[in-house]
Symmetry: D2
Subunit: 128 residues, 4 copies
């Protein structure tokens, strides 16, 4: 399981004083891209090579709100689904009380020349 540590930045809060739901997608994405880097892959380089990893589905539960100053970890576990899809299971866990603030199931597909491809390069590195 891969982990990435974050701290809430005040510009990520909305008028309710909590992290806006869209920002969790940013946290989840940055964790996925950091994970890719940790196994020798690079999102920007993949794009330059003509391979675009795109999110096709997200199922997210928001359980506890993150607030100003909160430190948290975003976890990541990846599975394969069928020939084409990768499923990322991710959780955001607040440091102070170890509570899950959000969890998501992200379905990703790789696109080349506008068509889904089997993500061989990724699967190999991810040892799936």
């Amino acid at each position: 399981m891969y982990h990435k540590e974050f701290e809430v930045r005040d510009y990520e809060l909305d008028l309710q004083g909590i992290v806006n739901n869209a920002v969790y997608n940013n946290y989840f994405e940055h964790t996925r891209h950091s994970y890719l880097k940790s196994i020798g892959l690079d999102f920007a380089q993949l794009h330059a090579d003509g391979i675009d990893a795109v999110v096709v589905k997200m199922e997210t539960e928001y359980k506890n709100s993150l607030k100003s100053g909160d430190i948290f970890r975003c976890s990541l576990r990846v599975e394969r689904e069928g020939r084409i899809k990768l499923i990322f299971y991710q959780e955001i866990i607040r440091d102070t009380d170890q509570k899950i603030c959000a969890k998501t199931r992200v379905t990703v597909a790789c696109i080349k020349n506008g068509r889904p491809i089997e993500p061989l390069q990724l699967i190999e590195r991810m040892k799936l």
Copy 2:
């Protein structure tokens, strides 16, 4: 069914040249808040009154990418689930070809003093 028209803004695109998945949450939220306004409710005023509408779940499918210059409509339909929850069904439909770019099912709960409440004020105005 409520609709809100948008145009893609270039700062919403990522290095793939498509609207980043987090930005769809922004579109969906702005449409919900505009809908509230259209029925005489106000998200910021609700917050000032101590009632916070919070997203507890989002299930989003990304079907076609939005690009620079795209015009689209975001639709909204709302249902009640149980005593506490409101479910918003929303779709983003591109103008040029009427294709669905994204669709979501958003579960919202209202919180007062840290506890979920029956959203009576909203239900009445929404005629649910």
Copy 3:
């Protein structure tokens, strides 16, 4: 003088309940790109053609805060400075009281193959 109308979106507010200063850059940029479109130019197409318009300097004054629900116009006037630079003068004026909320002076240069170029295509269309 070019104008673009906007409404504040609640996700653009921070915990102070006012539009975060970074978001004004978004408003200013979207107005510049809309202006380009209005004179037959396209920021994304320019990039695809190898020409990148980049901001090299911004001098912004924040005079009055935008809040939830505010409608405003962003104005734009452009001048040339020397052979290379374009200067955009932009103001954000709130509808309700016609007060200036922010004003900026944006210096833009065009880059091709990593080097500044004379923005001939832009200058011609902008009639500078």
Copy 4:
């Protein structure tokens, strides 16, 4: 001089593959708020206490573009101007080549009940 380390997150890039100019405001702000925390002050707490630190002016030069994967430091030095204003001098310096990517001069005022106040609490902690 205060420093804060960052890494570029891919959602901060625009279609040119470089960090969008608005995002630098985010970096600068997060550095200022982290600095406040380091001297025992808290932006969110100040707001809860009725004191709002607001940016009234920013003069920013963008000198080199940040790209995917870049690590950088944001520096901060603060001075007083007159009785009311604080001036933050901030620079963003890329790790790989120690080049300045952006530098800014940010004028901040503190507002209480809608009026500027002498920021005594801040001045004392900042030893100005």
